[in-house]
Symmetry: C2
Subunit: 270 residues, 2 copies
């Protein structure tokens, strides 16, 4: 395969990589449509027997709904390979005896069914979209400001993402609003939090240095993974912008045009 | 008059003060009800012939509506003594050829009637309350992120204020949301912006050192005024909290129980 510039050179030294973390939106599909070659790329991963987890900050639906969507688009994915923030959040809530006031998308509520939500002692934020009404945001604010030790868990800290009809505000904007109003710092569940990456790595029985994260968000996917000792590869799809290459802060281990190219290069030099 | 602790001591040396700036919410009234003695205090100011301006970050209605409300509560106020951010914003928009996308309370829209709002090249934020729907905030975000030189004007930067039914999110939270999502820094119109205080001071034909600001917001009223060379006096009404005395950053020139006490002390030592 011809390598464009430095695109593939890193892959020649990627022999220690035994497992993959893939972002979903912007890597597998974009605006609901599979990115060219990504369905085949996932199939090649499976046929080569490479452990893989799909590491996403998607909080608009349940893990099962993510799986249904991916399957219906033609991706060969298992439900237990999908790592969204909501199940991780439930574990944290139970471990720390936290009872959440939820400001989340209605479709993700089933994930929190088993959690005690009475007399809340924390606020959990997700990508609530239209549920980010003033009344709802104000109620979350009132819960938080009334707590002696305010705890704000945010499922992701993204600024925006790409939808069919244009760029769209993500949960991070509302996280910042509540952080400012209540003088608190949110704890992030999901990328780029350390525990989130490491849980997915452990689930494959691998070490961080043995795993490559492939994502379109240079800060939260690539930089976040690298900060945990993983390798981070940037795709030029999804929310990637030419100004991300090179990036002022994050230096990916590799740049690729898309997931298909990453997987071809990885399997070629493996 | 008996002085409680250091309450009145500063007023003994306030002879250079020739004019007053008063905040409205939390100083004149609280939750729509006049604070004890404040109607009489304003009357004493008028009878003593002391120049006064009412310096407010109120953006839920027009200047005329603020005047109507104050008059109906019994305050002796003239419409031209009221300084809210919206008219100041209109002046800035016209001076800088800015055409706003407005994310403001519907009742303040008449203030922007004379402003060209076609093909927006900036976003203006006010305390929009229920108009802070996700769709409206997202539209403002899309306007801002699409601009080559994004300009965000925020009428105030308050975190929250007190309403009859409890604390309520203010415009500052939404300002932070858009700042974060678009990587911009908002320009504040209203307190604590320097030009806002100085315009009110100039309107009385006075110098900053000749003016005393009386407010309940220790950062935006008291600290903001002091940063412009005015004297700043903190009332223990409105959003004042015991933890504001002493305050980690701002050292007011004086603390008083309420506006009535401030005016009595000022007139006594004048």
């Amino acid at each position: 395969m011809a390598l464009r510039g430095s695109t593939g050179s890193w892959f020649q030294n990627s022999k220690q990589i035994k497992g993959l973390l893939l972002d979903i939106s912007g890597v597998l599909y974009d605006g609901g449509i599979p990115i060219d070659g990504s369905i085949q790329a996932v199939q090649k991963i499976k046929e080569a027997g490479i452990p893989v987890r799909f590491c996403t900050n998607e909080t608009q639906c349940t893990k099962e709904q993510i799986w249904t969507k991916l399957s219906s688009l033609g991706f060969n994915v298992e439900v237990n390979e999908i790592f969204p923030p909501a199940p991780a959040t439930c574990i944290i809530l139970k471990e720390r005896d936290l009872r959440p006031h939820l400001l989340v998308h209605p479709d993700v509520l089933p994930e929190f069914e088993s959690v005690d939500k009475s007399n809340p002692n924390c606020v959990v934020l997700g990508d609530a979209t239209d549920a980010f009404s003033y009344a709802n945001v104000n109620n979350a604010f009132r819960t938080l400001i009334a707590l002696e030790n305010p705890v704000l868990l945010s499922m992701g800290r993204g600024k925006y993402y790409k939808k069919k009809d244009g760029l769209t505000l993500d949960v991070g904007a509302y996280m910042k609003a509540l952080e400012y109003a209540c003088d608190v710092e949110a704890e992030i569940v999901g990328k780029p939090s350390r525990s989130f990456f490491l849980t997915a790595v452990q689930d494959m029985n691998l070490q961080p240095a043995e795993v490559m994260m492939i994502g379109d968000d240079i800060v939260n996917d690539v930089g976040g993974a690298q900060a945990c000792g993983l390798k981070g590869v940037q795709v030029r799809t999804g929310k990637f912008r030419p100004t991300d290459e090179p990036h002022a802060v994050v230096k990916p281990d590799g740049y690729v045009d898309n997931l298909a190219q990453a997987i071809d290069l990885y399997i070629e030099y493996k």
